[in-house]
């Protein structure tokens, strides 16, 4: 599947706009178990991405993702900058220097997930964004090539974000709360879900 500049541009635009629109929700989730800046930080980062949208979408896919990653690293202002930034930098590294999406999407996504895990020194089950990204990666592997792949990814992300509520945080600021982190959805998991679902919605709209 090839992604032409206009298609890619609208995909990035939808994803950025949905993150920006979710800022109040991310902030309120982060006020419960973090320091309350996740929404405003993500908003700042994705507004910077929107500001460079023309330049980003003019690049081949690998460079485009790396530009998104670097923009997030430089503008977010919290740990989510390097975490999301590393995802896009590593995923960009795994793409070819053209406009083709590889058949093995799980490999590209997996490189991003591994980079997040390494950057945050975190694993599944610690109440972080990885608790959405890792289940999505599993679905990308198990449902690869199937007609309902996008729908399954979207459902996986929605279910995975809810499963972070009963978890006790052992990484990130929420871990300071210990058992009091239980019962709240993780803000990073929620922002990952917003991004994954925005990409799904954009791709479904293209079909």
């Amino acid at each position: 599947m090839s992604l032409q500049p206009d298609t890619f541009k609208s995909l990035v635009k939808v994803a950025a706009e949905r993150v920006i629109a979710s800022a109040p929700e991310l902030t309120s989730l982060d006020q419960a178990i973090g320091d309350g800046d996740h929404g405003i930080n993500m908003k700042r980062g994705f507004e910077a991405v929107l500001g460079k949208l023309d330049a980003i979408s003019a690049q081949p896919l690998d460079e485009a993702l790396k530009m998104i990653g670097k923009t997030l690293v430089m503008t977010v202002g919290g740990a989510s900058g390097p975490l999301y930034g590393s995802f896009f930098l590593a995923a960009g590294e795994a793409l070819s220097h053209d406009r083709q999406l590889p058949d093995d999407l799980a490999n590209v996504f997996g490189c991003g997930v591994n980079a997040v895990s390494a950057r945050g020194r975190s694993q599944a089950g610690e109440k972080t964004m990885l608790d959405v990204l890792i289940p999505v990666l599993e679905t990308l592997k198990t449902a690869a090539g199937q007609a309902d792949l996008i729908a399954r990814v979207r459902i996986t992300a929605a279910e995975a974000v809810e499963r972070t509520a009963p978890m006790q945080a052992t990484k990130g600021r929420a871990s300071f709360l210990g058992p009091r982190s239980i019962g709240h959805i993780d803000p990073g998991a929620r922002s990952s879900c917003v991004l994954v679902q925005a990409v799904c919605a954009s791709l479904e709209g293209q079909e």
Binding site: D35, D37, I40, N41, R44, V73, M74, T75, V76, G77, G78, A79, G81, P82, L83, G85, S86, R119, G120, G172, R173
Partner: protein, 130 residues
């Protein structure tokens, strides 16, 4: 004058970073280069990779630079900043696992004596030992 390890202080709050740097300068003197930064790109609480890179370059010494951080995001952003340095400098910068104020004073005191980067880091991190 012999080169000494440089010290960088990274806090979510620029006021804390500046205050820590002031303490280091008063207690250790000016022979150790100390740079600091704090705040997100809008000036609110947070840490900014580009400011950390600037601070590392300001405190640069051929013996390397030790970074002291406060909370999670400061560490993650500092590690990212180190990776974005030019390759020749990356291996000469370490993030210390130490309390920011005491760690900065201890690290700078050790650095002032001409110690290596590894020694400076080790002394700061003794503060975090069980």
């Amino acid at each position: 004058m012999t080169e000494t390890v440089g010290i960088v202080i990274v806090s979510h709050s620029r006021d804390i970073a500046k205050g820590t740097a002031d303490m280091v300068r008063q207690m250790v003197g000016s022979e150790v280069k100390v740079a600091f930064c704090g705040g997100n790109p809008d000036g609110g609480l947070g840490t900014t990779v580009s400011l950390i890179i600037d601070a590392i370059n300001d405190a640069w010494s051929a013996k390397g630079v030790a970074i002291l951080v406060d909370l999670g995001g400061a560490e993650t952003n500092s590690e990212m900043a180190v990776e974005m340095l030019e390759p020749a400098r990356r291996d000469l910068v370490v993030v210390c696992n130490a309390p920011i104020v005491e760690g900065a004073v201890m690290a700078a005191t050790e650095a002032a004596g001409g110690s290596s980067l590894a020694q400076v880091k080790a002394v700061a991190e003794e503060l975090s030992a069980d």
